[in-house]
Amino acid sequence: MIGSLRWSRFPSVTKSSRYLGMAIGIICLVPATLGVVAAAFGWLPHDPLQFIGESNGGPSLQHFLGCDSLGRDLLSRLWAAAAYFTPPGALAMVVALSLGVVLGVAESLGGRFWGAISSWCLQVMDSLPKFVLVLLVAAIARSNLIWIMAAVGATFAPQIAAAIRSSVERLRAAAFIEAEKSLGVSMTRIVFFHILWGHARHVILAQLMSLMAYALLVETSLSYLGGELGVQEPTPSWGNMIALARDGVFTGNLLPAIIPAIMISITILGFSLVGQGLLQLWEERA
């Protein structure tokens, strides 16, 4: 089974196209990364919260991308939004990883009792639609992005756990775990070094990438829809920037709506492509 994957009659993709996908994905992530770096080092061209330009001003040397309807510099807001999203996004990854690893390891290696308990926990989390759970937390936490992203991370724990479980199953099938145990390798080492790092690394990373894509999607969707659930004005978010500018289509001011929309799309695309590339890498090595 494992051997037959590599020599499949239908090779998944050619080498070049896989690396092309990864490269495009990484390029897609560049604008957002630039924003995070710029905001972190204080290199934003203007204060994203100050009304400094003229309302709906077009691109100029002062304001590279123009201003929004309230006269705030669009580029600064765009980058500040990326920076504002980063810590909660990272928190989502941490939550997903820790919950997923604990439950996944307990499920597949924890023996009968703990296995059943953690399997039940994971199924419970998986049975609730992710977005609705996030809505609940958003409603309770009064649109505090930290809590919202923690919830997003928690809803992704089953995916991480599934990656670990399938790794353990494969290694079990190859009698790898038993062999290691019989050689006297400690369980902690097997779990962290061989299973998590040696075997499941790519899949877990890929899942984290799709988690980031989803987290961004959730944040922007909530902020766009409003209802005091997502990021609130004046704090910038790509979602509420579009919401603010959405009537611009009728007045001809397309830029303030289209630029955040492009940013959202390419960043999500970037995360998905990198995740896909990682999965394909793994499929080949398996």
Binding site: M1, S4, R6, W7, S8, R9, P11, E284
Partner: protein, 350 residues
């Protein structure tokens, strides 16, 4: 129809590995007359399965690049090959595959009328190679009806059970209701043998049919297979690394080393223990067997290694290699009637 069941000439196969194209089979030449039992001997990894599956269009991997001809029952199954594959043999294995999927489809179309009825295959590993979605009984009934017999439902069922009994199985009712993954390896292998024989083929291609079986059953089943094939005047192409089986059953044998046939001819000339082998590799095989039987000290290490691109594939291990062996690849040259050998140095080896 020609009297040749199988005629392979200059068959070369490149497979795509992770590091690029690799030559797995190199200019193989074989002729199997109708009604004969032909054994292809070789250690594992020498490309036996690859030859068989490529000729049948069944290779589970991308069949890579193939050149040469293969005639099965007079039909050249590789006829359309040049349309799809372009081989540049001038230097290192580089090749252009024009349309691999088209090639896959074409070879399957060529095979469709013969597959499962005139020609059948006993796969190497029956547990993974048989359909997991059908019960054993269902598979057997399909095989029996592939032979073209018109039988009623009940007769078909009875006949299927009979086939299981012939394969030395007990509790045939329960076995015929099971799926392949519910059988042991030996049982699955016997089912595979029954499947291949039940459709009364002209050619049975058996890819190490008895590897997973224990010794008593092995001899029994090989004998059974041989008698069935002989009774029907069918041809058996036996791929094996079991020299005893080849010696007992086969009329002719070809010895494969690293994808090249190094010696071929009548079995009594090549595998006779008293025969003075002409090719060093054949000598090595026979000598290993002799030492094993006599309890003498065995050879150290393994002989299998990926062969050099040019020259004799056996050069790395060959004790009598001369300069020419490294530069030119020896071709099969006649050595008495029907006996062929690929070696630059003439004369008996030891």
């Amino acid at each position: 129809m020609s009297d040749m069941a199988l005629k392979v000439e200059g068959l070369t196969i490149y497979l795509e590995g992770r590091t690029g194209m690799r030559r797995v089979v190199n200019k193989v030449q074989m002729t199997v007359p109708m009604g004969h039992i032909y054994a292809l001997l070789g250690e594992s990894g020498s490309g036996k399965t690859c030859i068989v599956q490529t000729i049948l269009g069944l290779h589970p991997g991308v069949p890579g690049v193939v050149s040469g001809t293969a005639e099965v029952l007079g039909l050249n199954v590789l006829e359309k090959l040049p349309k799809y594959v372009e081989l540049d043999e001038s230097s290192t294995p580089t090749a252009i595959r024009k349309d691999m999927h088209g090639w896959n489809r074409t070879i399957r179309d060529v095979w469709a009328p013969m597959m499962g009825s005139k020609v059948t295959l006993i796969p190497q590993d029956a547990t993974t190679a048989l359909s997991p979605f059908h019960t054993v009984g269902c598979l057997l009934q399909k095989a029996i009806s592939n032979s073209g017999k018109q039988l009623g439902r009940e007769e078909l069922r009875k006949e299927a059970l009979n086939w299981l009994r012939r394969m030395e199985m007990y509790d045939v009712e329960s076995v015929s209701n099971r799926y392949v993954h519910e059988l042991s390896g030996g049982m699955a292998q016997r089912v595979a043998i029954a499947l291949a024989l039940a459709s009364e083929p002209r050619i049975v291609i058996a890819d190490e049919p008895t590897t997973g079986l224990d010794a008593t059953l092995r001899i029994q089943l090989i004998a059974l297979m041989a008698s069935m094939v002989k009774n029907r005047k069918a041809t058996l192409f036996l791929v094996t690394h079991d020299m005893d089986a080849a010696r007992i059953l086969a009329n002719e044998v070809a010895v494969l080393y690293a994808g090249s046939v190094v010696e071929s001819g009548p079995v009594e000339k090549i595998l006779d223990p008293t025969y003075k082998p002409k090719h060093p590799y054949t000598w090595f095989l026979l000598e290993s067997e002799r030492r094993l039987l006599q309890g003498a000290e065995m050879f150290k290490g393994s002989r299998s290694i990926s062969p050099p691109d040019e020259g004799c594939p056996y050069i790395i291990h060959c004790p009598r290699a001369i300069e020419r062996c490294g530069a030119e690849r020896p071709t099969l040259t006649p050595e008495g009637d029907e006996h062929q050998i690929a070696c630059w140095v003439e004369g008996d080896y030891r």
